[in-house]
C-alpha cells in the first residue's frame, strides 16, 4: 500500500512552478509508473508530490524553429501514434513500441522516463542519438541542457529541486538520416532492458556518412553515447571492416555493469554483436534505398 503523502494539484504551469518554488522537497509526479512503485516499496518516501501529468502546457508535440519539441508530460503511448514523431523521430517511435507494456505506456511520460534517471530508460538511447536537449524551467528562469549531460548517475540528474522538466527537443534531422532502435530483454515484452541500443546515420554523399551516432542503455550507470566508435565511423564509408572495428571499440570503451539481468562480459559481447548488426543493416538499408528510391525507413 502507498504511504501517506501530500499531493499538490496545480491547474497551470505557472501555478506548478510557484508551488515548486516554495519548497525544495516537492517531488514531481507525472505518470507515476516508477515513482509510485518506489513509494509502495518504501524505496523513497517523499512527503509531498506535485501532479504535473495533467498540465496542458506540458502536452503536445510541435515543430518550432528547426526543432521538434515534445512536452514533458506527453505519454509514451501518445508518441507511439504521433505523426510528427513518425516523421522526425522514427528511432524514438521504435522504442515506444517495445517500451514496458500497453498499460504503462498509457501512463508513463517522456519527461518522467528521463527525469527518473534510470540507466535502463528506453527513451534515452533514441533521444541521445537525436542529440536531444532537456528543457528545465523554474519560476524565474528556463535553461536547456543536452541530454547526455542531463543524467549524471543512477537516479541522478542535473535537475534542480525547484525545476521541472518541461520539454524535450531535438534539431530536425537532415535529409537522408536513418536510425534504428533495438531492445534486448529477458522476455519479449514488459521487461527491463538488459541492453538497449540506438544508432543514427547522417549521409554526406552516396558513399560517406557525415556522422554516425550510437547510444546504449542499461549497460552503464547512465545511458551513454559511444563517442570513440562514433568518431571512428564518422566521415567515411561504412565498410564491413570499419564496422567491425567500431563494434569492437564500442564494447571496449564501455564500462559495462553486472546485475541480475546479465554480466558485464555478456553485455560487452552483445554490444559488439548489436553495433555490428545494426550498422550493417542500416548501411545496407540506405544502399537499397539509393537503388530503388522507395519510401520509408528514414528517420
Amino acid at each position: 500500500m502507498l504511504p501517506e503523502f501530500e499531493l499538490l494539484m496545480p491547474r497551470t504551469l505557472p501555478e506548478a512552478l510557484e508551488m515548486m518554488n516554495e519548497s525544495s522537497r516537492v517531488i514531481p509526479l507525472a505518470g507515476g509508473t516508477s515513482l509510485l512503485v518506489d513509494l509502495r516499496g518504501r524505496i523513497s518516501r517523499p512527503q509531498m508530490l506535485i501532479n504535473i501529468g495533467g498540465l496542458d502546457e506540458l502536452r503536445g508535440v510541435r515543430v518550432e524553429e528547426g526543432y521538434v519539441v515534445v512536452g514533458s508530460a506527453v505519454t509514451i503511448a501518445d508518441l507511439k501514434h504521433n505523426v510528427l514523431i513518425a516523421k522526425h523521430g522514427q528511432v524514438l517511435q521504435q522504442a515506444t513500441r517495445v517500451f514496458a507494456n500497453p498499460l504503462v505506456r498509457n501512463r508513463a511520460t517522456i519527461g518522467g522516463n528521463l527525469a527518473y534517471g534510470s540507466p535502463a530508460a528506453d527513451a534515452a538511447p533514441p533521444l541521445l542519438v537525436l542529440d536531444a536537449e532537456v528543457e528545465l524551467t523554474c519560476k524565474d528562469a528556463k535553461r536547456t541542457v543536452p541530454l547526455k549531460e542531463f543524467i549524471t548517475g543512477v537516479r541522478e540528474t542535473v535537475r534542480h529541486p525547484r525545476e521541472l522538466v518541461t520539454a524535450i527537443r531535438w534539431p530536425i534531422l537532415p535529409e537522408g538520416s536513418v536510425g534504428v532502435f533495438h531492445k534486448l530483454g529477458l522476455r519479449k515484452a514488459d521487461a527491463i532492458s538488459v541492453l538497449s541500443i540506438a544508432v543514427m546515420l547522417h549521409r554526406k554523399n552516396t558513399e560517406d556518412y557525415a556522422q554516425v551516432r550510437i547510444a546504449l542503455g542499461a549497460v552503464a550507470p547512465t545511458p551513454i553515447r559511444v563517442t570513440p566508435a562514433e568518431e571512428l565511423l564518422s566521415g567515411g564509408p561504412l565498410t564491413p571492416e570499419v564496422i567491425a572495428r567500431a563494434a569492437q571499440l564500442a564494447s571496449e570503451s564501455t564500462h559495462a555493469i553486472s546485475d541480475i539481468r546479465g554480466s558485464a562480459a555478456y553485455r560487452k559481447r552483445v554490444i559488439t554483436a548489436l553495433v555490428k548488426r545494426l550498422l550493417t543493416n542500416l548501411a545496407e538499408g540506405t544502399k537499397e534505398k539509393k537503388h530503388n528510391e522507395s519510401e520509408g525507413y528514414h528517420s
Partner: protein
C-alpha cells in the same frame, strides 16, 4: 527426425452424452464478467486488518524483540509474538492424512521465537483498525538480531562442519532405488554418458496472492474464508491455535491459481490467531512482494545421470544422483524428492538402476509443492540425458527412445507394473507431425531447432497415504441436481468436471447441476486439490454417488413402466424405455414420485484409492502411485547466436488423458502447462544470494507474456485406460512436465551444444555457442 503417419490403437469408448463434450464450464461466465468472488474480495463489518512482521536475516538469533510501541499505537488491536502463542507448530508435512511419521523438531514454528532461519520468516502479527495503522505498527516493532553463520548451497550444507539448520544434521530426507545389478549393467555397456543438470528455484506466480478473512462465530468456531488447495488444513490450524478440530471451519473460495503454492498453510493460522485474540473479524491479504517472500518455492535440483547403453540403443544400466535444496524448513521436501526419485529414469525400461537422492536444508527460502512435484525436475534431466545419449550414438532421438520405452505390463523404476496404456511413441509421433517442417530463416545468425520430450507423471497421491474422497449427489423435486463435494477448485475446472459427471449419470444438462465445494464443515471432505488427484478421487466419488441416485430413480421408474431397470435409461431430463423412447417420464415427475414414497434421492459416496504400506526407503521396490499419465511435447525454437535470445516458434502438447471429461478444460490445462513449462525453460528463476531474494517482485521475476508464447496445439488422445471416472487419467501436472525439457532439447538441436542449467538465459546461450565454436 522423421515422422511417418501412424495410426493410433483403435479404442472403442462407450458413447456418452455429457462427458466428453466441450461444454462451457459452469464457472466460465463469472470469470468472464468479473462476478466470481475471490478470497481478497470479502470484507466484514467491524473488520480488522492483519499484517505480518518478517525476518530480514537468513540466519540469526533474535536478541531482542520489542513490540510495546506497536501495541501502544492508537488503532492497533493486538500484536502477537511467539511469547503470546500456545506451543503449536505449523505442521509442514503432508496434510489431511493420519499416522505419518515426521522428522522430529523440524516443523516450522508459527512465529519465530529465538532463532530465524530464512529471510521472510514470520516473527510477529499485527491487527489494526486500518491497513495504514497496521503498516505503521510494523514499522514500530524493534528487533535486534545476532547474525549466525548461514549455509546457502546444498552441497556446502552436506559437508561436515557446515552450520546446522535443524539438529542433528542438514539431511532432510533421502531415498534409494536398488534394482538389478547396476555395476554389471554399466560394465556391459558400449558407451557411458554422464551429465549433470541443474534447475532453479521458481515462484508459482499465481495471479491471486494469498488472502483471507476470519471471524469467531456464536458457537466459538473460528471461521476462515481463504484461497487454499487444502480445506482439510483445519485440523492443523486447530492444533496450532490450541482449539479442538471441530472449532475451526475453513471455507475455501474459488482460487486464482495455486500450482502447489497454496497446498501448504499460508495465511490461515495467522488469521485464526488474530481473530481468536481480538474476537473481531480480521482480513489478511499479501501483496505480490510479500507473497513471493512468504510462500514456498519449487525445489532447485542438481541431478547427475550416468547411463550405459549398447550400440544398438538398448540402455543397460543407470546410476542417478539427485540433490534438492529444501530451504529452511522441510515442508513437503521428502515427498517431492520421492516423486523425483520414482520418475528419475523416466518412462524407460532400465533393469539395472541405482538412484540416490537427498534433500538438504539451507538458509534459503523454503521449498515445497509446485506443479510436477519433483517429477518435473526429474524430467528436465532424464529427457535431456536421452537426447544426449541419442546424439552420442548418432541415433534419431525418437528411434532411440522407442527401443527403451516402457510398455503396458512392464514394471517401472520401482518395480510397479504399469497397467494402463502407454502411448509414448504415438504421442511423440503425433506431436512431431503437428510440429511439421522447420521454418527456414535466411539470417545466418539465427539457428532453428526442434526438440521433444516424453514423460511420465503420476496422478493420485502416494498410496501409503491411504487417500479417500467423498462426494454427495442429490436430485431435487424439479429434476435439477446438486453436487456437494469438498474439492477446492483451483480455477482448472475441478468443480465443473464433477458436475459434468453427475449430469452424465443422471441424464440432465450441465446447466441443470449446481455445485457446492471447498468447505471443511459443510461439504463432504474430498481431500486436497493437489497431486492431480481431484478428477481421479472426487470424480470417482461423484460417479459413485450419482450412480446410487440413478439406481433409486431407475428402480422406481421400472415399477412405473413395469420393465426391468436395465431396459431403462436417463437422458434429456427424462427416464425412458430404451427400446421405445416415446414412453417416458420427466425426471421432475419421477423425483416427486420417489419423494412421495420416501426414497433416498441424495447419496454420499466414499472413494478409496488402493492402499499400500510404506516402501522400504533403502530400495524403494513396490507400488507407490495409482497410475501415471504419459505425455509428449514438441517445440521449435529460433536462437539468435549473436545475442543468445530464444524465440519459441511452435509448441505442441500431446497427452493420453484416458478420457477427456471436458475437452476445453483439458486443452486449457495443456495450454497453461505448456506456458509454465516454457517459462521454466527460458526465464523463470528466483535468484537467491546469501539467502536474500534478488527477484522480489514481478518486475525481476519474469514469467512469459503473450509475446513469448506461441499458441500451443493441444492433441488429446483417449485410451480409456485410466483409473479415473470413465477411464480418465489426470492432466493437471502432466501438462507441464514435458514442456521444459522439450524446449531445452530444441535449443540444443538449434545450436548443437547442450546447456545443462535452466533457465536458458541469453547469457548462457551465448556462452554455449562459444563453447561449440571452440569445441
Amino acid at each position: 527426425m522423421t515422422v511417418k503417419g501412424k495410426t493410433l490403437p483403435q479404442v472403442d469408448l462407450p458413447p456418452l452424452r455429457q462427458v466428453g463434450r466441450p461444454l462451457r464450464r459452469v464457472d466460465a461466465l463469472g470469470k468472464a464478467v468479473g462476478a466470481t468472488i475471490y478470497a481478497g474480495d470479502f470484507t466484514m463489518p467491524n473488520m480488522l486488518h492483519g499484517k505480518v512482521f518478517r525476518s530480514s536475516e537468513p540466519s540469526a538469533c533474535i536478541k531482542q524483540l520489542d513490540v510495546n510501541k506497536a501495541r501502544a499505537l492508537p488503532g492497533v488491536a493486538c500484536v502477537l509474538t511467539a511469547d503470546d502463542l500456545p506451543d503449536g507448530k505449523l505442521i509442514t508435512d503432508m496434510p489431511g492424512q493420519t499416522g505419518q511419521e515426521r522428522r522430529k523438531g523440524s516443523d516450522a514454528p508459527v512465529l519465530a521465537a529465538r532463532r530465524v532461519r530464512f529471510v521472510g520468516e514470520p516473527i510477529a502479527l499485527v491487527a489494526a483498525e486500518t491497513l495504514a495503522i497496521a503498516q505503521q505498527a510494523l514499522e514500530l516493532i524493534k528487533i535486534e538480531y545476532e547474525p549466525l553463520p548461514g549455509v546457502f548451497d546444498p552441497l556446502e550444507a552436506m559437508k561436515p562442519g557446515a552450520p546446522v539448520i535443524h539438529v542433528p544434521d542438514n539431511i532432510v530426507s533421502s531415498w534409494k532405488i536398488r534394482k538389478g545389478n547396476t555395476e554389471a549393467g554399466l560394465a556391459a555397456a558400449d558407451l557411458i554418458v554422464q551429465n549433470t543438470f541443474r534447475v532453479p528455484f521458481l515462484d508459482h506466480a499465481y495471479i491471486e496472492p494469498e488472502a483471507g478473512v476470519a471471524w469467531v462465530d456464536d458457537q466459538d468456531v473460528i471461521n476462515i474464508r481463504v484461497c487454499t488447495q487444502v480445506v482439510e488444513h483445519f485440523r492443523s490450524i486447530a492444533q496450532a491455535v490450541g482449539v479442538p478440530h471441530n472449532k475451526v471451519h475453513v471455507r475455501g473460495t474459488m482460487i486464482g491459481g495455486g500450482f502447489g503454492g497454496k497446498e501448504d498453510i499460508t495465511v490461515e493460522i495467522f488469521l485464526a490467531l488474530l481473530t481468536k485474540e481480538t474476537r473481531r473479524p480480521v482480513r489478511l491479504a499479501y501483496t505480490r512482494e510479500e507473497s513471493i517472500l512468504a510462500h514456498s518455492k519449487r525445489h532447485p535440483f542438481i541431478i547427475t545421470h550416468r547411463t550405459g547403453v549398447k550400440k544398438n540403443g538398448r540402455i543397460t544400466g543407470a546410476e542417478i544422483k539427485m540433490i534438492s535444496d529444501s530451504g529452511a524448513y522441510p515442508y513437503l521436501s521428502p515427498y517431492v524428492l520421492l516423486y523425483a526419485t520414482v520418475t528419475s529414469c523416466g518412462p524407460y525400461r532400465i533393469e539395472n538402476l541405482k538412484v540416490d537422492s537427498v534433500s538438504v536444508a539451507t538458509n534459503n527460502p523454503f521449498t515445497s509443492a509446485f506443479r510436477g512435484f519433483g517429477g518435473a525436475q526429474a524430467a528436465v534431466a532424464y529427457e535431456q540425458q536421452m537426447d544426449e545419449m541419442a546424439k552420442a550414438l548418432a541415433m534419431d532421438p525418437l528411434e532411440f527412445r522407442k527401443i527403451n520405452y516402457l510398455k503396458t505390463g512392464d514394471s517401472n523404476a520401482i518395480g510397479q507394473e504399469i497397467k494402463s496404456a502407454v502411448w509414448l511413441e504415438e504421442e511423440a509421433m503425433q506431436a512431431l507431425a503437428a510440429l511439421g517442417e522447420k521454418e527456414t530463416i535466411s539470417d545466418d545468425a539465427i539457428k532453428v531447432g526442434q526438440g521433444f520430450a516424453t514423460t511420465m507423471q503420476s496422478y493420485g497421491r502416494i498410496m501409503w497415504f491411504h487417500d479417500t474422497s467423498r462426494s454427495w449427489v442429490g436430485i431435487e423435486q424439479d429434476g435439477t441436481v446438486v453436487v456437494r463435494c469438498g474439492a477446492p477448485d483451483l480455477g482448472a475446472g475441478q468443480a465443473n468436471s464433477l458436475c459434468q459427471i453427475a449430469a452424465e449419470v443422471l441424464g440432465v444438462s450441465l446447466t441443470d447441476v449446481t455445485f457446492y465445494n471447498s468447505d471443511s464443515a459443510v461439504t463432504p471432505l474430498a481431500g486436497t486439490t493437489t497431486a492431480t488427484r481431484q478428477l481421479y478421487m472426487s470424480g470417482n466419488a461423484t460417479l459413485k454417488a450419482a450412480r446410487m441416485v440413478r439406481e433409486v430413480l431407475l428402480d422406481h421408474a421400472a415399477e412405473h413402466f413395469k420393465k426391468e431397470p436395465s431396459n431403462l435409461d436417463l437422458a434429456d431430463n427424462k427416464v425412458f424405455i430404451k427400446s421405445d423412447p416415446e414412453q417416458w417420464l420427466s425426471l421432475a415427475d419421477l423425483s416427486k414420485m420417489c419423494a412421495a414414497d420416501g426414497l433416498k434421492l441424495q447419496h454420499l459416496a466414499l472413494f478409496r484409492a488402493p492402499f499400500t504400506d510404506k516402501l522400504n526407503p533403502e530400495n524403494l521396490q513396490g507400488d507407490v502411485f495409482p497410475d501415471f499419465t504419459f505425455s509428449a511435447h514438441a517445440i521449435e525454437v529460433a536462437v539468435d547466436t549473436k545475442t543468445g535470445e530464444i524465440t519459441v516458434l511452435k509448441s505442441v502438447g500431446c497427452h493420453d488423458v484416458g478420457r477427456a471429461i471436458n475437452p476445453i478444460a483439458v486443452e486449457g490445462q495443456i495450454q497453461g502447462g505448456s506456458a509454465q513449462g516454457i517459462g521454466y525453460a527460458l526465464m523463470e528463476e528466483v535468484q537467491v544470494k546469501d539467502g536474500v531474494t534478488r527477484t522480489p517482485s514481478l518486475s525481476e521475476y519474469l514469467i512469459p507474456t503473450a509475446k513469448d508464447l506461441p499458441t500451443t496445439k493441444a492433441i488429446i488422445l483417449e485410451s480409456g485406460t485410466g483409473v479415473g471416472p470413465f477411464g480418465a487419467k489426470g492432466i493437471g501436472e502432466p501438462a507441464l512436465t514435458p514442456a521444459a525439457p522439450a524446449v531445452a532439447n530444441a535449443v540444443a538441436n538449434a545450436i548443437g551444444v547442450r546447456i545443462h542449467d535452466l533457465p536458458l538465459t541469453p547469457q548462457r546461450v551465448l556462452a554455449a555457442v562459444d563453447r561449440a565454436k571452440k569445441g
